[in-house]
Amino acid sequence: MDELLEYGIYVALLVALAIPLSGYINRVMAGEKTLLGRVLCPVEGVLYRVIGVSRNENMNWKRYLLCALAFSAVSLIVLWAILMCQGFLPFNPEGLPGQSWDLAFNTAVSFVTNTNWQSYSGESSLSYFSQAIGLTVQNFVTPAVGMAVLFALFRGMVAENSEGLGSFWVDVTRGVMYVFIPLCLVMSIVGIASGMPENLSEYQEVDLVEPVGIDADGNAVAADDPSAVDTVDKQIVPMGPQASQVMIKQLGTNGGGYNGVNSASPLENPTPLTNIIQCIALLLVPIALLFSFGRFVNDRRQGRAVFAAVFILLVVSLGLIAFFEQSGTPQLAQNGAVYMGVDGQSGGNMEGKEVRFGVTDSSLWAAFTTAASNGSVNSMHDSYTPIGGMVPMVLMQLGEVIGGGVGCGLYSLIGFVMLTVFIAGLMVGRTPEYLGKKIGPKEMRMAVILCITTPFVILVGAAAMSLDPATVDSLNNPGAHGFSEVLYAATSAGGNNGSAFAGLNANTPFINVVLGLEMLVNRFVPIVATCVLAGSLASRKKVATTAGTLSTSNAMFVFLLILIILLVGALTMFPALALGPIAEQLQMVM
């Protein structure tokens, strides 16, 4: 029962915090007065004067899109350069060299696309400069870009016979200044108070509490074991500006860990309090934006409807992961080999899970981090049961719309909403419309692009990796699980999620490039589609709502939306999943 209560508390807390935040984000993005405005407004003004931006510029879709793309392109080139040149840059107490061109490309793309796929381990390969000035900056601005594009779409939906979508520069600036920096500041302070490092000092060498012995084969054994040929009694503890990067990685659906093991590391996630803060931060902004949507279009029922669809899918996914992880496998349960209960200690499938978190906190995190396009982890998804590991994969394959990335989750979801409206709208005998705007060929083209880009990219990426004979050498496991590892990597990059199944050594030039291209396409094609859609919707006039209009806010519509999301996901991914987790599950139980 305690487990159920814990699941309930996490989910309830998430929604309870998202609702007030949605109103605040709305005020910020609408340019209205906020409490923080007293302090920040003058700073904002100075900033605009310095970069030469007019606060009142109202860009058309082409200009808005151009700014978004140019900003991202510059970010990409600068970050790529920083990563390759970090050896010559300051704040590098460990003297770490620059990354190879392909790894730097992969990493730069990964952070500029809000993916944070990591083919490297942060603590052993990146300098403080790369982490703080390179990666953390992108962690702040990429969610702001997603949010900006989303609000441009909102403005297009609300506008009539016009073309103004707001100013990209103002939107990004306000997103960073009013939403991400203040929230991250508060959370980082809690994190530092809980013991997360936030400094620029050298890595610390400390004594191990319990020395470890190494035998002749290089395996770890007890220090007093007779076969030990060597003992290790010291360890290196990585330092650096960790707390700030960890908090924004969660809040901005980035997910790139400071350390290789991400939030499973006690440095990044030291206490139950930091775990709950981070876990909720995974989905907080994406969920809040669903409610902001309703507020912005002046019909809160629309926001509640998309929230309901997302919420139901999230809870069902969480339930499935939790159930399968708690049940473990028939092999684990056989003859009581492993404790499966929940009393006193965490039972179930504990392989690859932190004992501090157990099945409950790990399942929550796995569901939240893949529902959101976040990708930070506190457990090893590779070690999940076949179905427990498939659900996170499916959450990404559905197009990262169950919350998804900040901004991009919702604009992709609106693509699915339009698809639903189109099919259902025809069935009531009208040419389809959403929020009073007719869905013509142009809108349909963009909606379809939003819906199928993710599966398209995933399939192409996975096919490319499958064709490369060298991929087999990167695998930890044979058979169906081996294919799952490849599919998960393609999925994680293709969904701009960035979480690692692990088990696949992805740092090869070929995989780095394939995954990099996947991330780029899945980030920017939908941004283009969203801007075109926003421009097209803004230029349309609204049609009146009558009893003959399809309701897009009732239970029936929510049901249909869920169905369409699942159908598109299932129809595109079912054969691939059959070769991976489904085959594995069937092999396991039969």
């Binding site: 025809l426 349909m444 009558t546 059959a578």
Partner: protein
């Protein structure tokens, strides 16, 4: 609903010759140029070619599967393409048959082109034909230009579209409308437009040509029924985009699957169990071929349903717009009320008796040939048995209605009897020292408030009473409007009546709103106002003064009996000139869109069962455990794939009747329509293929294919 001659002709050879023509067309459409117009079916076409090549290669020993199996797949794919062609051909066939019979009506004739000017009025009293023959020359109708004048005698065909400038004649328009009763066409007013290809039965006409040959109404009709749907509508294009996107993604699913299964089998040191043939089959099954094959047939059939209702749409877009209409402007007369007002009561005032009033009213109406006038005479006879009296020789002088006095009546033996609208009679009696009593005013107001039209009768400058002219609201119209309201369609009554009368009738008929004392400008304003609020407005019109409003409305139905200007301003023409047609048009538009949506849903829902048939069939050699997904327990991988692809082909043929007829339409709220269609086509689309594929698999097994 009256059947046009075209439809009647169509019925005669509907069955055999049309079907064989459609079969011929289905093969003719295998031309890649035709195939490429439908991207979804084009991919099936390419797949059919690909499997055929694979079969030929397999005969040469390069086989990825048994040649017999590859041949079976290739044959079924060719059939799938042919079935889709057939669906389109049969839908087009209806239009073609209609066009053929219209073409029969259109032939070049000799026309009497007037070369020496028109005769002045009065000059042609005696024998106009010989007079005009002398002033005209014989030309071929094809050479007629705009503004030429032609003379048409009895028994001759009218050579071109035009306006009657002189004469009046009865005209047989059955070639166009299918209505055999002749209609009157005469100069001036709203009955002056004539159509080329119709025949003058009696008397004669002088017609000013308004459309040159090739652009005539008949030509337009022919091109409309033949080709209007060839141009895709925005909604069709949007749906096509969705279907193309699904096709592309399923193509990728099939192609990537080849690499996935190759990779997976490599991990287990096995040969790749999937073959190109089976992946092609998977792709064709998944691609939305059902809706892809039927999409254009649905559009053409919607148009031909409209034609069957004797309405011609200028574009397919207009039909779709009809489905979106949510405001209907309906003319009161003929649509909401029976054509004419009828006298229902005599209300005497100022001490007169009812019989006195009836007597005076009857006398005043004896020469009044309007339906209202006739109804007064009838009522007087019914109530007091007052017989019709002969005017001739009785010394009575009839005073006809004039716009100046707005009264009519009789004078006899020094008595004056007049009837007219309240204000006209009031000023008339007051001019002669009579009075308009409070009682009279009260009665007039009562009648107006009740939705009637009060008609005052005065005898010798003294008001004797009021005739209650009543509008008779059509039976069942209230229920009609209620169901329209449920569908979210607002009805607005347009009438020339005063607001009080209009309000009463509006309430009785149950319309949502009304426009009283309507002028063409007021109508136009109203349409603009509703459109500004985001509504889609439909209206009918016939007069030239309706043209601006027709041009503004989203769906504008011009009466065939109306003027040329009205027809040009509208985007549909109602050959029956029936004012209630608007409601049918909206239904047909909605039905067209619903059919499209329902079959799309059905097509996509089908994929679930196909996956359960094909995926285990593909991968069982690699992972035998995946046989658990074979929930239909199909006999073998080969029968499973064949069953799925045979179902995929047959369902196209099975759904042709539905595509042509349209899904059943009910007047209901959007919610209940959605629920119903989802249950039938969504749930049905999931369940049916499971059953059908299993059945086909059993049949194949029985035939020893396993």
């Amino acid at each position: 609903m009256r059947e046009t001659m075209a439809i009647a002709t169509l019925k005669q050879y509907d069955t055999k010759s049309q079907a064989s023509r459609a079969v011929r067309d289905a093969f003719a459409k295998l031309n890649p140029k035709d195939q490429v117009k439908n991207p979804v079916m084009f991919m099936v076409f390419v797949s059919a070619i690909l499997t055929t090549i694979l079969f030929v290669l397999s005969l040469a020993g390069i086989a990825d599967q048994q040649p017999g199996f590859i041949l079976a797949i290739a044959v079924i794919l060719w059939l799938t393409v042919l079935f889709a062609n057939f669906a389109e051909a049969i839908a087009e066939g209806r239009g073609k048959a209609q066009a053929d019979s219209l073409r029969a009506a259109k032939r070049d004739v000799q026309a009497h082109k007037i070369t020496q000017g028109l005769l002045a009025a009065g000059q042609h009293e005696g024998d106009p034909a010989s007079l005009y023959f002398a002033r005209s020359e014989e030309v071929n109708s094809a050479t007629l230009k705009k503004k030429d004048y032609v003379f048409v005698a009895a028994g001759e065909q009218i050579p071109a579209d035009g306006e009657v400038v002189q004469g009046a004649a009865s005209v047989d328009e059955s070639a166009i409308t299918g209505e055999s009763a002749p209609v009157i066409r005469e100069s001036g007013g709203d009955r002056s437009s004539v159509t080329g290809g119709t025949t003058v039965l009696s008397d004669w006409l002088v017609v000013c040509v308004t459309q040159e040959s090739g652009k005539s109404f008949l030509d337009q009709m022919i091109s409309m029924v033949e080709s209007a749907t060839r141009k895709k509508t925005p909604n069709e294009i949007a749906l096509q985009i969705l279907l193309v996107a699904l096709t592309i993604i399923f193509l990728l699913v099939a192609a990537s699957l080849f690499t996935f299964s190759g990779f997976s089998s490599g991990l287990s040191d096995m040969a790749n169990p999937t073959t190109i043939t089976s992946l092609v089959a998977l792709f064709v099954c998944l691609a939305p071929t059902t809706i892809g094959a039927l999409l254009s047939a649905i559009g053409i059939a919607g148009m031909s349903r409209l034609n069957k209702a004797n309405v011609l749409a200028m574009s397919g877009r207009a039909v779709e717009a009809a489905g979106d209409v949510d405001v209907l402007l309906l003319d009161k007369t003929g649509t909401i009320t029976l054509g004419n007002r009828q006298a229902s009561e005599f209300v005497p005032v100022d001490g007169a008796t009812e019989e006195e009033l009836a007597d005076a009213a009857q006398l005043a109406s004896l020469t009044d040939e309007t339906p209202e006038g006739r109804s007064i005479v009838v009522l007087a006879k019914e109530r007091f048995n007052i017989r019709e009296r002969e005017l001739e020789g009785s010394g009575m002088v009839s005073i006809p209605f004039s716009a100046a006095t707005r009264m009519s009546g009789v004078d006899f033996d020094g008595h004056e009897i007049r009837k007219g609208a309240a204000d006209a009679i009031k000023s008339y009696v007051e001019k002669f020292g009579g009075s308009y009593s409070d009682e009279c005013r009260q009665r007039v107001e009562d009648i107006s408030r009740a939705g009637g039209t009060p008609l005052l009768v005065a005898r010798d400058h003294r008001i004797v009473g009021v005739i209650y002219l009543k509008d008779i609201v059509k039976q069942g119209i209230k229920e009609n409007f209620a169901s329209l309201r449920k569908m979210g369609i607002k009805t607005i009554m347009i009438t020339g009546d005063n607001p009080m009368t209009a309000a009463a009738i509006a309430a009785e008929a149950g319309v949502d709103d009304f426009l009283a004392e309507a002028t063409p400008e007021a109508k136009l304003d109203m349409i603009r106002r509703y459109q500004a609020e985001g509504h889609m407005v439909a209206m009918t019109g016939d007069g030239t003064n309706d043209a601006p409003a027709l041009a503004q409305a989203d769906v504008a139905v011009a009466m065939n009996s109306g003027t040329q200007a009205a027809k040009e301003a509208g985007n549909m023409v109602d050959l029956d000139s029936s004012p209630t047609k608007l409601i049918d048009i909206v239904m047909i538009g909605k039905q067209l869109l619903m059919t499209r949506g329902s079959l799309t849903t059905f097509s996509i829902a089908n994929d679930i069962a196909k996956y359960f048939a094909i995926v285990p069939a593909l991968f069982v050699p690699l992972y035998p455990e995946l046989d658990a997904l074979n929930i239909m327990r199909l006999t073998s991988p080969e029968t499973a794939i064949l069953a799925a692809i045979i179902y995929n082909a047959l369902i196209i043929v099975a759904l042709i009747p539905l595509a042509l007829k349209g899904v059943k339409y009910r007047e209901a709220s959007s919610q209940s329509l959605l629920t119903r269609n989802l249950l039938v086509y969504g749930l049905g689309g999931i369940v049916l293929p499971f059953v059908a594929i299993k059945a086909i698999d059993l049949l194949l097994t029985l035939c020893g294919m396993a």
